[in-house]
Symmetry: C2
Subunit: 345 residues, 2 copies
């Protein structure tokens, strides 16, 4: 690997001049004439000079690398379309802006590994946190130390924290309203994993829609489930063990994966979707269109959330101001077959 000094020696110029010509942005007072410029370029090409980003980072204190931190629960990354889609959006923006992406993970609720590795690590310019736990100590620390950091899906616990969220409450409401419009009034909600930021607002949206329709929520229809296929499957199996008079006629699942699990359990009992049980999912990832029947689902702009978060973080890293610190992106309902024919149209 040729260094600046190698080029300088061979071109008969100073290291400063070579640095300025090859890597400089004209920020400082180093002035190099046309002739020397050309000589330097020629030698650089000849020697195949390529700058060493490590040496550069040591002095500039910028690396051009962003850290992406995922919650880790064994199978989260490879099984949950939400995570991969966020990543996809982040990645796209990162590539566009000529940054690099470093992957980190938090083992379970233990974010200490992140603190040890990524946070204090000058190898990354900033941190993107996906689904951090509530009142995340990592975020608190970033804020305290002025380390650039954006959380994706996080209940803002301070005005200073940068977050990107979707309007989960409205999502829960839309899903439920849709089922109400279809004539259902015994609607179950498969509740997401407790502690994950999306769980509570979706549930509140569900409750609000019921209340607005003058229906008293039946606590027995708030079924604890989670965001995994297995969660949906087991929740429905348990639910169907009750006497059929207590069964709902429609289900609003925690997310698409959970909905598919539910569908599977329903099918096992010979119940048809949507004829015997209407079903609505959440997230509306690619996965929702390929179930049978295709899932009605609340569309969340997951990819866009990744892009936006990356944009915000890059702005922070580069010292630009971010107008909206806590944007909330709109959701909408994607109506497909799993919720049944639409009676109101």
């Amino acid at each position: 690997m040729a260094t600046l000094r190698d080029v300088a020696k061979r071109a008969g110029a100073s290291v400063s001049a070579v640095s300025e010509v090859l890597n400089g942005k004209g920020r400082h007072t180093i002035r190099v004439g046309q002739a020397t410029r050309e000589r330097i370029w020629a030698v650089a090409k000849e020697l195949g000079y390529t700058p060493n980003p490590i040496a550069r980072s040591l002095v500039t204190r910028k690396t051009g690398v962003l850290g992406l931190v995922f919650p880790y629960s064994g199978a989260f990354i490879d099984r949950n379309p939400f995570c991969t889609q966020v990543m996809s959006g982040v990645f796209e923006e990162v590539v566009r802006e000529r940054y690099n992406l470093m992957l980190h993970t938090a083992l379970g609720d233990d974010w200490s590994t992140v603190e040890e590795s990524a946070l204090l690590d000058p190898r990354v310019d900033g941190l993107l946190l996906v689904l951090p736990s509530p009142h995340s100590p990592v975020i608190a620390r970033c804020l305290r130390e002025g380390f650039p950091c954006v959380a994706i899906v996080y209940e803002p616990d301070s005005d200073d924290v940068y977050t990107v969220n979707a309007d989960e409450f409205t999502g829960g409401r839309l899903a439920t309203e849709h089922l109400l419009e279809l004539g259902h009034w015994r609607i179950a909600h498969l509740v997401g994993t407790p502690g994950i930021a999306t769980t509570e607002p979706r549930k509140q949206g569900y409750l609000a829609a019921l209340a607005a329709a003058g229906i008293q929520a039946d606590p027995a229809l708030l079924v604890p489930a989670g965001f995994d296929w297995q969660n949906g499957y087991e929740a429905i199996r348990t639910l169907l063990e009750r006497p059929s008079s207590q069964h709902p006629t429609a289900i609003f699942a925690a997310n698409d994966l959970c909905a598919e699990g539910a569908m599977h359990a329903l099918r096992e009992r010979g119940l048809r979707v949507p004829e015997d049980m209407a079903l609505v999912g959440y997230d509306d990832t690619w996965f929702a269109t390929m179930t049978h029947p295709p899932l009605t689902s609340v569309y969340m702009p997951i990819y866009e959330m990744g892009v936006l978060a990356a944009q915000m973080l890059i702005a922070l890293v580069e010292g630009r101001e971010v107008a909206d610190r806590q944007p909330v992106l709109p959701v909408r309902l994607s109506v497909r077959e799993s919720s049944g024919p639409i009676s109101s149209y």
Copy 2:
């Protein structure tokens, strides 16, 4: 951020001593007495010293970071369970070995972006290439320059290249044999994307199984498709436009996603799986178990391939010898409902 010098000054010791005590592995001749050791530790704790990996990398020429390069075709990362599962395996091993992972991508067939960023980039110690194009110039270059590099799913074009593959040929054979055993003899194969390393051997396995059964392959039943849902969907729609006397009775799809697309198209025409058409997928990702009916699929140890590739690369980076440069991992058939009842048992 406290530096070695800060600690040294405050502890009344030399930078060398502090470096040895806090970060050294006892590799060289620096000897520090018990008393100074304790003083240094105390001061380090007091100042919250944390080593700067960038400065360290500059001198050691090791970063503890591995680069993971994915093929990029718009939606590959977030839609294809294969890629995310490889990543999951790689990630697991990388975390276990206390390395870090940097994500890169190759835009389409243009791996030049990789050459520009990752390859010559001293920020990574080695490169993990997922599904590189045949005769990859990147691999050739790594080999030439002695840069550690392991390819995941790659037809070895030299004895020196390190690859991790699954036994695709046997996979294609197993899938086809299974359908033959079930009594099918008009078996279509939805062929994968041309140019991807897995496409050809799977097809060859299919042809070999037919030949072994004394069946002459019908070229019309070799349907060009690809590895995406849409590919399977469209391939089957085209296929079903032929007169039904020319229809197959069974389909071996390029992968699970493609199989699900096929299933969708079949259902649209009122054809039942497996009663009217038996179906076998490939990869056997989590996705295969949640289709309806669940997919019979060739299990590929994708996760394990990621782990193994990472292990090999880390060994290379650390200068250890790798016994088997081109391991081929075994596959097996996961029989589920989409292929129909098993007549031979």
